[in-house]
C-alpha cells in the first residue's frame, strides 16, 4: 500500500511528466490557451495513459523482456525481444487511441465533439509513449503499480496543462515584451514552474535527503554490456553539500537509468 501511495505522489509531483522530463510538450504548448480545452485533453491523456501503460506492462512482462517467453517452454527462455518494444508499444498506443475514439464517438457524441481533434493528437503525444518507456526502464514490478503509474503520471500531466492554461488566460492582461509574447513567455513560465516543482523532491523524505527511489537499493550488481565485468554501483552515498546536491541528483538519476538499462539487458 505504501509503495502505491509513494508512486502516486512521486509521479504527480516529483517526476512530473512536463516539468521533470518534458514529455508531451508539443500538445502542452499548443492546447494550453484555454482552460476548457486543456481540461479535455488532460482528461483524455489520463485515460489513455491509464490504459496503455498497464497493457504495455503486460506486453513487456510476457513477451518482450529477456526470458519473458519462458512461459512458452524452457527452450524459449533465452529469447530477448526487447528491441521490438518501440514498435509494439506504439502499435498498442495507436490501437488504443483509435479504439477510444470509436467508443467515445458511439457513446458520447458531445464529448467526442469537444475532444475530436485532440484524440488523434494523443497518439503522437510523447507523454504516452514516454509513460510506457519509463514504465519499462524504471522496472515497475506489478500490474497494480503499472495501473497506478499510468494514471498518476496522467494526473501530473493534467495538472501541468491546467495550471499553464490558467496562467495563459490571465497573462493576456499583462504587458509582456512583444518578442516574448506567446511562445517565449510560456517557455519561461514553464521553466519557473519546473523550478517550483523541483522543491517537491523533498516531499517524500521530509527535507534534506534525496528522493527515496534513488536510495531504495543500496548496491546493485551491474554488468556492463561491452566488457561483461561485474561492478557494483553505490547509489546511496549522498552526503554532499547542499550546493552540490543538484549535481548529485542529476548523477543519480543518470545512474538510475543506467542501472535499469543494464538490468533489463541482464534479466
Amino acid at each position: 500500500m505504501l509503495e502505491h501511495i509513494e508512486l502516486f505522489f512521486r509521479s504527480i509531483f516529483i517526476d512530473n511528466m512536463v516539468f521533470a522530463v518534458f514529455l508531451g510538450m508539443c500538445s502542452y504548448l499548443a492546447v494550453s490557451k484555454k482552460v476548457a480545452t486543456a481540461v479535455g485533453l488532460g482528461a483524455a491523456v489520463i485515460f489513455v495513459l491509464g490504459v496503455t501503460v498497464p497493457l504495455n506492462w503486460l506486453l513487456d512482462q510476457y513477451l518482450l523482456r529477456d526470458g519473458a517467453l519462458a512461459w512458452l517452454g524452457p527452450e524459449y527462455a533465452d529469447y530477448n525481444l526487447g528491441f521490438l518494444s518501440f514498435i509494439l508499444f506504439i502499435a498498442t498506443i495507436a490501437t488504443m487511441v483509435q479504439l477510444v475514439e470509436i467508443v467515445v464517438e458511439k457513446f458520447s457524441p458531445a464529448l467526442y465533439n469537444s475532444l475530436g481533434i485532440f484524440l488523434p493528437l494523443i497518439a503522437v503525444n510523447c507523454a504516452i509513449l514516454g509513460g510506457s518507456l519509463f514504465m519499462q526502464s524504471r522496472d515497475i514490478q506489478t500490474f497494480g503499480l503499472a495501473v497506478n503509474y499510468g494514471i498518476s503520471s496522467g494526473i501530473g500531466w493534467f495538472l501541468a496543462i491546467l495550471t499553464i492554461a490558467a496562467i495563459r488566460e490571465k497573462i493576456r492582461y499583462s504587458n509582456v515584451p512583444p518578442p516574448l509574447r506567446g511562445l517565449g513567455i510560456t517557455f519561461i513560465i514553464t521553466g519557473l514552474m519546473g523550478i517550483g516543482f523541483q522543491s517537491f523532491g523533498g516531499m517524500l523524505t521530509g527535507g534534506d535527503e534525496v528522493p527515496p527511489a534513488e536510495e531504495t537499493t543500496v548496491e546493485v550488481p551491474v554488468k556492463s554490456e561491452g566488457t561483461n565485468t561485474e561492478q557494483t554501483v553505490e547509489r546511496t552515498a549522498v552526503t554532499g553539500a547542499d550546493s552540490e546536491k543538484k549535481e548529485i541528483e542529476n548523477e543519480l538519476s543518470k545512474k538510475d537509468k543506467e542501472i535499469s538499462y543494464t538490468e533489463a539487458i541482464n534479466r
Binding site: 497518439a123 510523447c126 509513449l129 518578442p179 511562445l183 517557455f187 514553464t190
Partner: protein, 215 residues
C-alpha cells in the same frame, strides 16, 4: 538543371531560421529539452533525428500513392519506429555509454512531432528529392537549436564542452575559476533548458519582429 534550384535550397534554409521547427512551429520540444545538459548528447540526438527524418521522408514520399488515408498514421508510426529501432540498436552497439545517457529519449524520436508533422505536411504530397531536402532541412533546424542549448548549458553548467574542461579546472582554481567564477548549477537542472529556449525565442523575435505573435 542545377542539383539545387533556389526553391529547393529554401527547403533547407527556411527551417534553419524563419520557419524553425522548435522556435516557430513548436514541434519536437520534448527531446530538445531533455537531453541538452551535455553537448555530446545533443549532437548525437541531432544526428539521429537528421537520419530518421531524411530517410523517413523519402520512404513516406515513395509510398504516398499507395497508403490508404485511413491508416496513414499507423503506417507513418511503423516507418518511424523501424528507423528508430535501427538508430537505437546502432547506438547500443557502438556508443553504449551515450545510449544510456539518452535512455528513453531515443525511443521518443518516434513521437517527435516534427517527424509526423513533416510527413503529414510535406512528404505525403511531394516527390522524393524535395521530401528528402525538406526532411534534412527541418532536422537541421531542430539540430541547430539543440546544439545551441546544449552548448550554453554545458558551458555554463559544467564548464566543459564535449566533456573537455574549457574554462579551467574548478578544483585547482585555474583559468577562469581563478577569478572567482563558479559553475552555474542551475544550468544542469531540467527547467534551465526551458528558460534557455525561451531566451532563444526572445532573441530571435527581437531580430525579426515579423515573427511576433499576438496574445
Amino acid at each position: 538543371m542545377a542539383l539545387l534550384t533556389k526553391k529547393d535550397a529554401n527547403l533547407i534554409i527556411d527551417p534553419l531560421t524563419d520557419n524553425n521547427p522548435i522556435t516557430i512551429q513548436v514541434l519536437g520540444i520534448c527531446s530538445a529539452l531533455a537531453i541538452t545538459a551535455e553537448l555530446k548528447a545533443s549532437v548525437v540526438m541531432a544526428i539521429a533525428v537528421i537520419f530518421v527524418m531524411g530517410v523517413g521522408n523519402v520512404v513516406i514520399s515513395l509510398m504516398r500513392n499507395i497508403i490508404p488515408a485511413k491508416i496513414k498514421i499507423i503506417v507513418q508510426l511503423i516507418v518511424v519506429a523501424t528507423l528508430v529501432i535501427v538508430v537505437d540498436q546502432v547506438l547500443k552497439a557502438f556508443a553504449y555509454e551515450l545510449s544510456k545517457t539518452l535512455s528513453v529519449f531515443v525511443g521518443l524520436i518516434i513521437t517527435n512531432c516534427i517527424i509526423m508533422g513533416r510527413f503529414e505536411a510535406f512528404a505525403l504530397g511531394n516527390g522524393l528529392w524535395r521530401s528528402f531536402l525538406d526532411g534534412i532541412g527541418n532536422a537541421l533546424g531542430y539540430g541547430v537549436i539543440l546544439v545551441i542549448v546544449g552548448f550554453i548549458r554545458e558551458l555554463l553548467g559544467s564548464g566543459t564542452l564535449f566533456g573537455y574542461p574549457v574554462l579551467g579546472d574548478p578544483i585547482a582554481k585555474t583559468g577562469l575559476y581563478a577569478t572567482g567564477y563558479e559553475n552555474n548549477g542551475f544550468m544542469i537542472i531540467p527547467p534551465a533548458a526551458l528558460i534557455v529556449v525561451g531566451i532563444i525565442i526572445w532573441v530571435q523575435r527581437t531580430q525579426n519582429p515579423a515573427l511576433v505573435e499576438e496574445g
